[in-house]
Homo-oligomer: 311 residues x 2
């Protein structure tokens, strides 16, 4: 199937282009971007013109920042194309609901992807937690924004989510592996005095069986980069590290508790394989739970002003 | 049907108690509140004890502030009771989804009420707008918090929503009367430097047919109190005033454009009549759209710090 990539920035080059190139399902037929191109691939700057010129491209994958994404997605759906969205699926929950409704009315597939759910050990962690009684889940998501998002000012502009841009990856894993629904009960959000989104945050959740669920995020982590969560249960402790790629059970590294080692494939190939299944089956996959928790944290959170941030 | 009111504060006394007293459907059988009671009605302070002592009370109406509401609603549903929620239905979207799921699993009714949708002219406005092309919708929601919420500190504590507590009433009308879905594209939120929620806000929305949709909220309005919206269309202008109680068409006061004058009844009697219908039909009514827009505004909004607020 022919696919076009819209928004050729860091994530497109690092993940989308190689995943599509290695896939038996997809052929990268065109790109659309103000600045970026992919060598050897037909390049457009005008999205409407691309849609008109290439009716044979039935699937559009959007790797733009969240704020401009809605307009492209709406235009693609209106043109009868299937759409795959990078995470988060939009800048607002309401626009995602609107896109879902538009896709349903038009009979096309909409896939709100969450790449961290495709990390190697996430399904193994889910399977293990299924029959345990959770006592606590503590999430630590600390990375250096200067290293992973160099110069990406949009992340600190209103709607860019700040430290919740990586944090929503943790939420996408938490909402996948926990058998019971959680909700935010409180949050502290650290806003740099010269920026519009938080650079660090601490969030507490209600768990229906009384487990302590917390999340600690920081965008100024130097040295070791930490994307980990530790679940203490009545039958031992499970930890996920490296964003879900590594699983430990009571401190022992478990290469693969589920028997399926997705890490051989990587996250994005799993997403593109899932998109191919969705298009073939004529289905959509739009789970907004991770984004809803972020919106809840912004709504409920206490705002603290911290030192200005500059690259 | 017997009903218990939980949280006997200003809104319970002003609206819920008289609406229940005048209804043919309901008998106020008990109250539960830390501070308030209703003369002549059995009063409890311990909610669990009330549920245990009065299995004959099948319906619980919660008039508590949003933050403590979830725990009571969850307890009532777990005890097999139908639940009616004041607006907003909770402090987070995720807890409302959880309650909806719990109510479904337990086979009881959950009603997330929006009292402003029951204002006299809302349905007339909806009917009139249905076949018009919208050019703009400008909402002005300006009231004096000292007059309408005297000493209610919870409104300025994290989760209390601040000026969005009245503002969500406007959103509940907007989402009811507009035929097309809107979503927040930007917001400015004025936080008093000593408070955790905004005291004023300006919100801009995307409209799929290009209409300009804006909302201007202020909690420090002295003099005339304004709860108005003006819709300019291809076939004239419609205005709602006094929170939806008065409708004007091209500046002419229209007592009742729909032929049904709900204002004779008032908002809360309409809500309690609807709850009676839902319980009899075994249905729930949980529309989170107004709250989603608030969460979107908090997520997308630029935070401005303004003068401290004291009562």
């Amino acid at each position: 199937m022919k696919i076009a990539l819209v928004g050729i920035g860091k994530i497109a080059r690092d993940q989308h282009v190689p995943a599509i190139a290695d896939s038996p399902d997809w052929e990268l037929a065109a790109t659309c971007s103000n600045h970026g191109t992919v060598e050897g691939i037909e390049a457009h700057k005008d999205f409407g013109a691309m849609l008109a010129a290439r009716p044979d491209i039935q699937v559009i994958s959007l790797c733009l920042p969240p704020v401009p994404r809605f307009a492209y997605a709406a235009q693609a759906i209106a043109a009868g194309r299937h759409v795959m969205l990078e995470k988060p699926p939009g800048a607002t929950l309401s626009e995602c609901h609107a896109l879902e409704e538009m896709a349903r009315a038009k009979g096309v597939t909409l896939y709100a992807s969450w790449h961290s759910r495709a990390a190697a050990q996430v399904q193994a962690a889910k399977a293990w937690l299924k029959d345990k009684t959770l006592r606590s889940l503590n999430v630590t998501w600390k990375e250096d924004v200067r290293r992973w998002h160099p110069g990406q000012d949009w992340i600190f502009e209103a709607g860019g989510l700040g430290v919740f841009d990586p944090g929503i990856n943790a939420l996408s894993i938490m909402t996948e592996i926990l058998p019971d629904p959680i909700h935010v009960t409180g949050a502290e959000l650290d806003f740099p005095e010269n920026r519009e989104t938080p650079i660090a945050a601490r969030v507490a959740f209600f768990h229906p069986k009384g487990a302590e669920v917390t999340m600690d995020m920081d965008f100024l982590q130097t040295g070791e980069q930490i994307w980990s969560m530790e679940a203490v249960t009545d039958q031992g402790t499970l930890s996920l590290h490296k964003g879900g790629a590594v699983l430990e059970n009571d401190g022992k590294d478990v290469a693969d508790a589920s028997g399926v080692n997705l890490s051989l494939k990587g996250e994005y190939p799993v997403l593109y394989a899932h998109m191919a299944e969705l298009v073939r089956a004529g289905r959509s996959d739009v789970d907004l739970a991770p984004m809803r928790h972020v919106a809840d944290a912004f709504t409920l959170g206490r705002r603290l002003t911290v030192a200005p941030f500059d690259w």
